[in-house]
Subunit: 456 residues, 4 copies
């Protein structure tokens, strides 16, 4: 469950507590080790700062579209989250740095009062980047003090809230990168977040050839358990775990690659109404789309705007920044379909949660080439995979009470579930049962697809 962007949200939440009380699900015995938690908190807070490093104060301030937020706002909002949900309640004598920040940096919590309009976040030239950095320091110092005081047993929920704050900040780390890309993509200078070296794309052409093979992995039907069953951290929308009945299905071993998408474009994919959902056909025509939005054709060659700047399209890399309508149309063109979120989760069951995630050094965040091998690959990392499952409540789900109840439940309408994380998802953030969700027209995340089909 990732930050919302449609028109309202950015949060994530927690709790398997079906009674709605705020009792987060990490196991209390293991959690005893608050030192580890403190270390992870520091690492997470540091990574956010590191992500902002290549960006000028100007870059950090501007908002390219309503769905995206400025870097500076992300840095301040994640800080406000710790202040508002933890420090105010649990650190004696905690003093807010500024009375204005609650108004400026609340995202969408109705329960937390009025707030600056989402679409105007880019107007906040004040507080400055420096002041936001001071704000982060102020809160980090207070959090350290809280840990020093020791978290007594009876307030074990503090540890749960810190865990939630870490996961919340990780979600915003992903957004910092996708939102800055949405800004740079509209600049006539095509700035790079980080310059790629010349050799980054080596071998792309070669492996494109290798990619012609169609390898499918088959899966049994029957009753499968879906949803989170462990006792670690997870979001409320991954619960209750429940059984679903599936028919036999198969998945492609690799995600759809740029080379395939070029074929789709060349075959008139964006001009053929029979391939599109009615909403999608209306959308691409109103917006005059004829290829993915970060692509441009120059002198017969395709280029793609990336975090490394505007670069020649890598044929073997996964297609990304496509919306649901596009994913669905491509699948229909290919004579296949998208997997359901259940199929995806079942197929992922025995895979390690490893892949091309955001690395700690934030060197070159981009999806890496995808080579058909006959084995299920790239389920985690690289690109979020659109599923055909509308994002909704699992049977028996009730939103938790209070502000944390505003995290996931209120977005269960008109969006689709995505699985697996992307090249800008912080490592350790993702789970098999993790459910991301976006509106079918949204495309500024690292979103791609994997083909599925029936199998009988």
């Amino acid at each position: 469950m990732t930050p919302q962007r449609g028109t309202q949200s950015e949060e994530a939440a927690n709790s398997d507590s079906e009674d709605g009380s705020l009792n987060l699900s990490t196991d209390s015995r293991e959690r005893g080790d608050t030192q580890k938690l403190a270390a992870r908190l520091r690492q997470t807070r540091d990574l956010s700062q590191k992500l902002a490093e290549p960006l000028s104060p100007e870059d950090q301030t501007v908002q390219a579209m309503d769905d995206a937020s400025p870097t500076k706002w992300h840095l301040a909002h994640t800080t406000w989250f710790f202040e508002e949900f933890i420090l105010k309640d649990f650190l004696p004598d905690y003093k807010c740095l500024s009375p204005d920040y609650n108004y400026c940096f609340n995202s969408y919590y109705e329960a937390k009062g009025d707030r600056h309009p989402r679409a105007s976040r880019g107007l906040l030239t004040r507080p400055s980047s420096d002041e936001v950095e001071q704000y982060r320091g102020h809160v980090d110092e207070a959090l350290a003090r809280l840990f020093d005081l020791g978290i007594p047993d009876e307030t074990s929920s503090v540890a749960d809230l810190v865990e939630l704050g870490i996961n919340h900040e990780q979600q915003h780390q992903e957004l910092i990168l996708t939102d800055i890309l949405s800004l740079f993509a509209r600049s006539p200078l095509y700035p790079a977040y980080r310059k790629s070296s010349a050799t980054d794309c080596d071998g792309a052409e070669t492996s494109a050839e290798a990619g012609r093979a169609e390898n499918w992995i088959e899966y049994e039907g029957g009753i499968h358990e879906i949803g989170y069953t462990g006792d670690g951290f997870h979001y409320d929308n991954e619960r209750p775990a429940h059984e679903v009945l599936l028919r036999p299905f198969k998945l492609r071993d690799h995600v759809v690659r740029n080379t395939e998408w070029v074929e789709f474009v060349g075959d008139g994919g964006y001009q053929n109404p029979n391939l599109w959902l009615a909403d999608g056909w209306a959308f691409i025509n109103q917006n005059d789309w004829s290829c993915p939005q970060y692509w441009q054709k120059r002198d017969g060659l395709w280029w793609q705007m990336t975090l490394g700047g505007n670069l020649p399209l890598e044929p073997a890399a996964p297609v990304t920044h496509i919306n649901y309508y596009e994913a669905d149309a491509f699948a229909r063109w290919a004579g296949k379909r998208l997997p359901t979120e259940y199929e995806w989760e079942v197929a992922s069951r025995h895979l390690p949660i490893e892949g091309n995630f955001l690395d700690r050094d934030v060197l070159k965040p981009r999806p890496v080439e995808s080579t058909p091998t006959g084995e299920l690959k790239q389920m985690f990392g690289d690109v979020w995979e659109w599923t055909s499952s509308p994002y909704n409540a699992y049977p028996g789900y009730r939103a938790p009470k209070g502000a944390v109840g505003e995290y996931n439940g209120k977005f269960m309408c008109s969006q689709f579930t995505l699985k697996g994380g992307s090249c800008v998802t912080p490592p350790g953030h993702i789970r098999r049962t993790y459910r991301n969700f976006f509106y079918p027209n949204q495309n500024w995340q690292f979103t791609g697809l994997r083909l599925a089909d029936d199998f009988s």
Copy 2:
């Protein structure tokens, strides 16, 4: 599956033929009796004319909003359907009455060429009502001729297409009434489609009192078969039949009534963000809603715009003309939830398909009072019941090829399924497996809700 109105469609379609060929599903042996089919065709065509009778040429021409179409357009479009899909192909020497009508009266079939923009249907003052009546006569006469010629065995698909045309026209009959209501609701004169007599509302107050009881019917969980399995007419989106795994659940015996909704309004239901989906909260605030859209409060009393004119709200009648956001918020306020489409279908299994449908005399189309009795009532007729199920493809579904393939499949995105038909659904049109669908913001149909809950 009723005509779409979101931005694009009005059709329904056919065929269990999973291979996509146009072989409709009515059983060929019974179908042999073409005389019965001809009789049903005549009845259907007559009913449409009857529905238009209380309306002046002006009433029949104007379009109150993009989602609705003028009566005259419905009368002509259903006629064009027979011309385009049957007469042109199967009646030797058939001559179109006017070369312009294909452009004017195609709804959304990309495969059938350019067409008049949906939002401009209300600008078609020509052809006149009289000319549309002539057009209907011209096509009816040709259809009669086709039947007289005898439908040879090898063109049994003609009978299928006639069946489809009948069902298609029935859908538009419902729309004729809901669309004219949307027009009259915007008139300062509050015209009645048909005047109600003074005694129509008798006894409403009394039975409202009786309604306090909360009666629930319980259902077993387990594996259930969903979707159409017979060999009669049905739409493609009701197939393939497939198994789903349900948890135990219960349904209220009656649909939610106006008296309950008055309580919801009085309790600040439209002012409490915690009750609403984020999209719903944004929607009602942007549009300044604080009650169902056909309601107004005057001198402390509630009135409702109906096909009988603007009348005092009937407390015991089902609430209607609410959208998905409202239905969902009400259920949350009541501490319950909406049923899934599967639960609804399972619960309806042993009920006769009887209820308050559009009667042949079109006397007083309105939902009738709903009295809690402890037995499952009003599942069919009165009001379409919103379910929590996003409208999507059943496993294994593929849209049929050709123009009929544009009926249902291309709308499987961002809409919700409704079940059971309404007081303006023609009798004989509905099935247990029938799936209607609308966007969550749409409310101009006779749409209501029934509460569900878990049961363990």
Copy 3:
């Protein structure tokens, strides 16, 4: 001064009474002859009915755009005007036909209470055309009764108000025709208000050739008196008469003709930003204009939608249905300029007010061909001529008090003055000093231009 359409108005008004009291300017001695007034009233009322004759009830009901109103609404509104401003105040025991009509048929008089929104006039399918005809009869009968009672001297303002009502209705007669053309122009059937006979266009080609000559009429500069100075009927915006200082100028003998505009289009006139006002350039690009809006090119030939249907463009006829931006760009392309309203008025001084106005039989309302002759022609009738004068207040102007004060004064902003009347202006309605006004983007009237230049 014609009805406004921008976003608000349709009226005209009266009165030279600079003190704001309602004492209309017709001379009271001549006016004594109330029989003549009664006769003119009847003629005017009859003409409106006659204008509606070729139109079906459907045609009379629909509104193609916010600026235009339905025929039926014009028929009712002009009737309401007599009821509201005269009958209610001066006819003892007058009874309104319906209490709803004040709400339905008030146009924009804030002083007369709430009213039906302008953009929703096309939703008024009720009252029907027949009921509106009854309403007209009811009011006509009452007006006749008022005249029968005799208008006593002390209520001579009644005669002034009748005169105002006549002029007001004449303005709406013009609108009935231009508004129905705006509707028919959006119909795929291109209906004719009245069919033209085949020979209507005879000779057009020939005279186009004759039109190459550029004849200019020269006028002296100096101090000229502008504005109405007589004692007949006129509108408040034609007063106070005042002096202006003009430089020598010259006018073309004929208005710009289609053949010249074809040349302008062919010369890339709509593609050259240097020819356009910045607002105009933005407007034509946003709306994708490349020729006048009622023109279409088919197989290399130009056609024009007219009240006679869609017809081959007449080369020698005046260009019409162009907006101010287009007129201004054309003049710049031609190396000339538009005249000021003062220049136009001075030039018209010795001409009889004769021309191609709406004839009583309403046979073929259209601008007739324009032949260069060396004499000033077509100043009156055919097409309204755009001037370069922003429509504003004459020095010393103050709007009259009360509802009539809402006629002209409140529109003195962002519009331009037009002079001379058109082929659908009722005869007797126009004056040299008459000031019509429209926004620079509006083009649905019969609007054209005449070139002017400096002369030294």
Copy 4:
């Protein structure tokens, strides 16, 4: 003639050359002294930098609305102007710093190629503030070099272009301040561009009392010459000088003050449709205005957002940031009217061009209190005064050819003329004949009004 903002422009231009050649109007003999010109150039360039000093890189980058531009963009655009119009043509071997800047920093010159969309100027986080400063240095150095080379007689037009560049940059200096105010006014922190000291407002209350007197200055009617007749720098729209015929009139000695506007608001000025132009009434209702846009009422007291931050309203200071609709409504409420631009110009004839302009130290830019004295005061500086004159071409005006011809002429439509300059107009920039212009809905400049009336 100031930069346009409506939807398109920011420029000003020059030249009395009615033949359209670029021969600026400064007298060539005096101009011989290029050293003085070089000094003024340096002062102007320095002042722009000084204006940006209190602003962070973030403040300089963001755009609060389409009409406004970021500080950084102003700094770069004025620099591009010198590069594009002078250095490229006249400095041998001049090298552009970046090939992208022509695209980024062209404002609206169609003749100068494609350009970054106006509404997206706020997305240009790159080039950074530092890079823009380097760009300014690069161009300043080149300009110095150009002066060192000596400007030969035959390229005396270079001096004219430098003069134009200075005036152009002065216009943008005004915009830097008004645009930053429009940004800060939307911040929840109400930042001050420069903090006012506590004593700034001293005496305001006192002088408000003194302001009750109504003093009028009377002026003769007759023929007056209007427009620029000298041989110094001026814009093309100030020419040709020409005679106009005026009636006797009178002007108030002081501009309308906040205390009067408070009375207007208190008297229901914003709720009375009779006071407003129809467009104005629609505008304030659509936007929900009930006072000037930089005002807010808190606990019964009025505050105003200013360049000094959000401060208590100064009663005796001129009202400012009002649009034409408001000015016009106020005048009607007061029973007076706005002056024409001709009246204003005639009245200003014998006044020195002195007043509260932007001072070189940019300390506290704000309108100062206005005290009725019986003498004509504050005609120059403090606030631009709306006139009732639509901004249009003087008789005989033709726009110059080439890019400079795009400065003033193409905006002569739908705007009104303002006179006199404001507290943020650089000294030396204004003339009696100077014509500024804005759309009637625009209010983010320092715009106020002075009452006029007839006099007989």
